[in-house]
Amino acid sequence: MDAKAAERELRALMVEGLDGDAAAYKALLSKLSGHLRAYFRGRLGRMGRSVVEAEDLVQETLIGLHTRRHTYDPSQPFTPWAYAIARYKLLDHLRRTKASIKDLPIEDAEELIAHDDLSEAESAFDLQNLLARISPKMRQAIQYVKLDGLSVSEAAARSGMSESAIKVSVHRGMKALGLLISKGRPT
């Protein structure tokens, strides 16, 4: 698929996702994860880094995109937005792991969607381990809504919390998980 068609498709999915369409949002993240994986593996591979590192970065970038999705302006193209976040997460990762790379061009957004890599690897993050580190209330809310696939009202009925309390707990819990993933890396 050429870059323009990919951009059109990703942007449409993003806009639907912003309006609360979970299926479109899931499709977006799945497609993006392939692009991100190819991008990170290519970049890290040239530096002799591991596949696991690339997978960590894919997930870090996905949660970055997710928690900052309100900064996507639908009147602007999608690819430069996603690329800026991917590039930021890669630079942040390299800085943290004491490497430096000078040739990560700002004006190279199309490289992000030029390739696709669907051979998934296991990241170093362990979900249960991460969940154990957030508050029980948030953990329960995420377990019900995000992992068991219950609706908010079902989760409310089962846990005895109100629906708005469930929503708030899920929201805060996802934020806390994002923080754990980006700051408390298991390396």
């Binding site: 799945s30 894919v58 997930q59 976040i85 362990d126």
Partner: protein, 213 residues
């Protein structure tokens, strides 16, 4: 964790996202930060008694033109810096313009003045207070702007931090202008310019630490 599992986690039950929150948060930070700086000025050094009389009102206008234009251009930069993928660098470069204008005005006024009076023009009343108060008044606006930027997604943390420092100091200087007894152009260029440049560098140093996400 498999990325597929991770995506399920992120995409189950997504809420619709409200639009335009980034700009609103920044605007709120500017208002709160500016009000805090003004309040601090009022309870510490207080308003200048002859603020709107004669030449001092003219110089108040010059001071405000300098500081408010800096805060305005800097804020436009911060808006762009909040969104990943927008080219914000050029906007930051525009903040040099008010400095150039005030520096050439200050230099011109000094050269035109009689040599005997030049020293008094530069070291006007309370120049040291200026140097202390402006950086202090900038602390609350800086904190507010950092709060706002942390809710957005800056990807160039050094520049975003520098921009926040610059806007915060410009707001601090705006507040101080209502007290400032210094009535000369070189006075404004030096004693307002220096603290703002100082805070710009401080912001650039603090940015990567405070704004990481």
């Amino acid at each position: 964790m498999k990325t597929g599992q991770f995506i399920d986690l992120l995409s189950a039950d997504v809420e619709p996202v409200r639009r335009g929150t980034v700009g609103r948060t920044l605007a709120l930070a500017l208002v709160i930060g500016g009000a805090a700086a003004l309040g601090l000025m009022l309870v510490t050094v207080g308003l200048r008694p002859d603020l709107f009389e004669g030449a001092s009102s003219m110089l108040l206008a010059v001071k405000l033109l300098f500081t408010v234009s800096l805060a305005g251009i800097g804020s436009l930069f911060l808006v762009a810096a909040s969104y990943p993928g927008r080219n914000a660098r050029r906007r930051l470069a525009f903040t040099i313009l008010p400095f150039l204008v005030i520096a050439s005005l200050g230099l011109g006024a000094t050269l035109l003045a009689a040599p005997m009076t030049r020293h008094d023009m530069v070291f006007g009343p309370e120049w040291l207070t200026c140097l202390i108060c402006i950086p202090l008044f900038a602390i609350a606006p800086f904190a507010a702007l950092v709060w706002a930027l942390r809710k957005a997604a800056p990807t160039d943390l050094r520049r975003a931090g520098a921009g926040a420092g610059l806007v915060a100091a410009a707001l601090g200087a705006t507040a101080y202008a209502f007290h400032c007894p210094g009535d000369s152009l070189p006075f404004i260029a030096i004693w307002y310019g220096l603290p703002i440049v100082f805070w710009t560098f401080l912001g650039a140093i603090l940015g990567p630490r405070l704004l990481r996400w």
